[in-house]
Symmetry: C2
Subunit: 164 residues, 2 copies
DNA sequence: CATTTATTTTGAGGAAGTCACAATAAGGGG
DNA sequence: CCCCTTATTGTGACTTCCTCAAAATAAATG
């Protein structure tokens, strides 16, 4: 079928290809499709990534997505985080120490810069002798849209947890 | 059967009983056994809690543990957190805004007071309009024991992820 | 002690992810 | 350009962690 969903992979493909090679990985359509999907829709689950990547590579399988996501995450090309009561989400924004804010009503995820501008959360007061490598910070709250809906329940039933 | 494993439940039972009643819950042996297990071993998984609670209540079922843990967590009597690549862990220390440090080698979990002593992580720089309710902070690192073992690999095989 | 109904148990089932092995295709040499 | 090696993907079964509905049990109350 024709590509009616905007720009297919290929826009950032050269960048991903060289990055993969630099990590000693072969450049496969599966990896490119996954990387492209994650880049176009950050904070996506493996399931959502599969669906998006299949727009360009219909024969892609769930298992391959899991394998690719795991490998690229270990490589540092992707970042994974696991919100409570949700499957793992992935994003291409790596290297900086940014955090995430999740709306407990609709499940929407936003990036959040580190609080005091320079990784204060990486310096806990007492580490019990542990050498801290990373600080995973997740804010949970209610986004403005959902807050408005909560106060004026017009038609839809009140949701309690994210579904997608 | 006699109680040979030290102090059974009953030490803090009166406290838990009144707390349960204050929340409009009936005082059952299952709930007391779960609460006692979590109090004795903080940062335990549902599975571990089941095993511990069964020392005093052998007929306790996994499903009951899940139900009780979920309900008590919603009530605020327990706190749940979900480390990456691990089932949910529970603790009785609630109300304060403390965080957790996890050893990525052995899976050990330690409590960590909030970084700058007064919930700095609750104040992200940019919230995209979200009203932040809670900040979940998880530090991942290597504890001193595992760091020592890493440098001197004497006999045991090198572990990579927590198992219990 | 009897009654009410919250709680637990029983049993099935689902979501998310893993593992082993066969099939495929990317990259390098000729 | 074709072949070969082996990384990668696909296939299929399986595990873990957890949830749901309905029947059985046991707190709390009078």
């Amino acid at each position: 079928m024709e590509r009616t969903h905007g720009n297919g992979p290929g826009a950032s493909a050269p960048v991903w290809s060289s990055a993969l090679r630099e990590h000693g990985r072969r450049v496969t359509r599966q990896r490119l499709a996954v990387l492209d999907a994650v880049e176009r829709h950050p904070h996506s689950s493996a399931d959502a990534i599969l669906a998006m990547a299949r727009e360009d590579l219909p024969e892609l399988t769930p298992q391959s997505v899991y394998v690719v996501l795991g490998d690229l995450t270990d490589l540092g090309m992707l970042r994974r985080f696991e919100p409570p009561h949700s499957p793992a989400l992935y994003e291409t924004r790596v290297g900086d120490n940014h955090h995430h804010a999740i709306c407990s009503v609709c499940g929407r995820v936003e990036d959040v810069e580190c609080a005091v501008g320079h990784a204060p959360c990486l310096t806990p007061s007492e580490t019990h002798g542990m050498t801290i490598m990373i600080a995973d910070v997740t804010y949970v709250g209610v986004c403005s849209d959902c807050a408005a809906k909560q106060h004026t329940p017009p038609s839809g039933p009140p949701q309690t947890l994210p579904s997608t």
